[in-house]
Symmetry: C2
Subunit: 479 residues, 2 copies
């Protein structure tokens, strides 16, 4: 079937393509308050499956979920001056509640960091209470002047992890464990997204952190998106909130803490990484519906074969749905399934069936081939596995093809117009970084070549070229 | 082991017992803003498992999850006058955001009802779009003057379902399906709570509803708690938001809608229904940790047997954890496990083990008996099943014993001092209902005797004794 231009082509206007896909695939609408979003069932199913896959990994890493309040006394956010400086214009403040003006206004949480600080200080007294490994799934609010659905919204959903440890080494290892075993593994395995794990420069580091580690992905237009971060906070946070413990020698010590977060931004990243001019492409492992059995035209044998295929696919562990909306034209249903990026369709129609066949339509390669009825389940299972891998490989190849080894800052700036640049950190440095910022280009992360690591790079221990002379800066425009 | 008075005995001061259990079982703390709560990992695990069990049933009933924004324009809440009247003093209003005063203040959602109304009107155009079955898991805010953790908090977590149907019969059937197949089944099966399904009187009905159905449970002090409600909204909601559709004859029709909700209140209900003077008792099916294998005193054989039992129990499908905190006195760990209501403990100590035995401690019957090492898994599995049922039976017997058949309003008022009263609705009526309200006693629901229904009563179709002369009022004090 020839692809219809149901969405603006990416090459023509990428931001418009993004908006079109979100509207036509029924992912989300704008909310009635500017900057907020209504996440529709199809979009929510994506987030829900992301949450479940992440949550299982977070629990496997030993962290426990909890829930802190939406409202924070305004005074809490002036406790840590550096912090408020960063958030202040983003705060939404409740001044009126219970039918009267509040004596102390309350802030709608931009993060629960300060409340975690207060309660972690209460909950930790002895070295026996450590490590304390906490996570929260919640909505947070940061007022957004230039909102864009999923990427920058005044309210978004996220998880924030906060942990306290007895030693710096333990905190450091845990922050890395979250980065690699939870975040990177989830993004590569479930989202089929190649992410580069690196270290933020001082300029890009989270306020209060001694080290911010990041996972960066390349979008379809060559820009970067930060998919998640994991921070070592040293003893800064523990000092601000007095998170201390008595050690084995009955001496009081300050804890070492970490924090880490990912959000509904990842949904935007998924769209922009895998989508094409026909709409979304959902990685098969993530897809709530992996296979759609479509009745092209109803007939007794067609209906019974379709029902049988649904059972067989479900029995084979495939998340399958029946599309029997035969009063909607078939072409419209096909376009809708493509827009929604459903990995596989099994089209059952009277003509094919007369030959004992149905048609297997695969969203990722865009292929369409006859399959014998008895072989459908096996073919679908192998198509799902192959197409998940194909999405990953395609994204990786695109990233590699659009990443240039730059020999100078000017070359890097040129390369960042269409993709990423790699250049020695010693060629750029703090000053070079400040200069290219003026052109909307940032250092996404610092990495060190390491052939043993997926992607060929590892996260550096430092941003100091005297210690790690091979530090490489990844430079790009970013969302 | 003799029970220590670690919490205030229920008979002495039930509200104080409730607070003690919440604090000592580490379920929740008060948040920094009055009326808010910090749900600690042990409390959150309860809610998380409630959510999962409910969510599976909601999906099985065909509803899809979505997410609407936290912020609602103030103007939305004056659209439906009757509604604002009810909520107004409970609203929290953001007047300041993005570093300046907002032109139109935004309300922190007390419910997403108005936004559901707006978007359902957009999403429904044809009879093909019906039924539209939506659900949302979210936090909501209703400013609370006399807060009590889990029961009445300014912020709470809930699910709210909103559905639109082509016919009154379809809407009516769906509201009942949610009440019975989702809510009542979840509460009886997973929470081991006997709930009485009934119909609210006009006085207690949700504003805008044509029929409110409820599930009422008896707490340990004889008071009632409303565990969940399911509303038929007739065409009132559809009229207010213009939710219409073209029928098969191309005629425009108004939809028929329902809404239904349950919240973190259920956690409070669980505590007050099953808790005893030693603390919580978590129903085995709900418990995140069903069995705790406790090393009483470490020794090579003890440690290896404990590890082996953990594996065997996990293999038998039991959610099991190892307690090897041997530097904490054993008695303190036992009291903690009782407080937390962990259904079963397997105590492994050197003395028992010399005889090839361990000790099985069951929280519900309070029993403690030796078990041969090779029989642990099988014994634990059957203990969990038996004790879940025992909790249900005990709660049902308590409810039946504390429910009096009253022959007059005065008798009912007396009975409501310590439990529930049943009396013919025609003896009470609207006037009697208004009169007993002055003494803090309400009609929890109306029911009709029906021997074929669990609990011996069914939900009436009407509150009119002319139509259903056997209408019985359940009268009680309530949380
Ligand atoms: Zn106001
Ligand atoms: Zn302010």
């Amino acid at each position: 079937m020839p692809k219809q231009p149901v969405v603006t082509p990416r090459a023509q206007d990428f931001p418009r393509w993004y908006q079109d896909v979100i509207a036509k695939a029924e992912l989300a609408d704008n909310g009635p308050v500017r900057g907020t979003m209504v996440i529709r069932p199809y979009g929510w199913a994506i987030w829900e499956r992301m949450q479940a896959a992440m949550d299982a990994r977070i629990k496997a890493a030993g962290a426990e979920n909890c829930y802190l309040p939406l409202f924070i006394p305004e005074s809490y956010l002036s406790r840590e001056a550096e912090h408020v400086e960063g958030f202040s214009p983003e705060l939404a403040v409740v001044t009126h509640a219970g039918g009267k003006d509040l004596e102390e206004p309350v802030v709608v949480r931009p993060t629960s960091e300060t409340v975690f600080g207060e309660f972690m200080a209460k909950w930790v007294t002895s070295h026996r209470d450590l490590p304390l490994l906490l996570n929260q799934w919640a909505n947070v609010v940061r007022w957004e002047m230039r909102p864009r659905v999923f990427l920058r919204t005044s309210e978004f959903l996220w998880q924030e992890g906060h942990t306290a440890h007895a030693t710096e080494a333990d905190a450091s290892a845990y922050a890395r464990r979250i980065l690699h075993e939870v975040y990177a593994d989830f993004m590569r395995t479930e989202l089929a997204m190649p992410v580069l794990a690196g270290r933020k420069t001082k300029r890009e580091r989270f306020a209060g952190a001694t080290n911010t580690m990041t996972l960066e992905a390349m979008m379809g237009d060559g820009k970067a998106l930060q998919m998640g971060t994991s921070h070592e906070l040293g003893q800064n946070f523990a000092r601000a909130f007095d998170i201390g413990f008595t050690d084995v020698d009955q001496q009081r010590q300050l804890a070492w803490t970490t924090s880490w977060g990912t959000s509904t931004r990842m949904v935007g990243g998924l769209i922009m990484c895998h989508g094409d001019d026909a709409g979304l492409r959902i990685p098969p492992r993530l897809a709530a519906t992996q296979a759609l059995v479509t009745i092209v035209k109803s007939a007794p044998e067609v209906d019974s074969t379709a029902a049988q295929l649904v059972s067989e696919l479900a029995a084979a562990g495939v998340r399958v749905r029946l599309d029997d909306r035969v009063d909607t034209p078939y072409g419209r249903r096909a376009v809708d399934a493509e827009l929604k990026g459903i990995p596989v369709r099994v089209e059952v129609g009277p003509r094919d069936l007369a030959d004992g066949q149905v048609t297997l339509v695969r969203r990722v390669p865009g292929s369409k081939e006859p399959v014998r009825v008895g072989e459908v389940a096996q073919q679908v299972v192998s198509a799902l596995a192959a197409d998940h891998q194909a999405l990953y490989d395609e994204a990786l190849q695109r990233r590699d093809a659009a990443t240039v080894d730059a020999g100078s800052v000017d070359e890097a700036v040129d390369a960042a117009q269409t993709g990423w640049a790699r250049l020695p950190w010693k060629l750029l440095g703090d000053e070079g970084e400040a200069r290219i910022a003026g052109q909307g280009i940032t250092v996404r992360c610092l990495v060190v070549p390491d052939a043993d690591v997926e992607g060929g790079y590892r996260v550096p221990d430092t941003d100091d070229v005297a210690v790690e002379p091979e530090l490489t800066a990844i430079v790009a425009r970013a969302y």
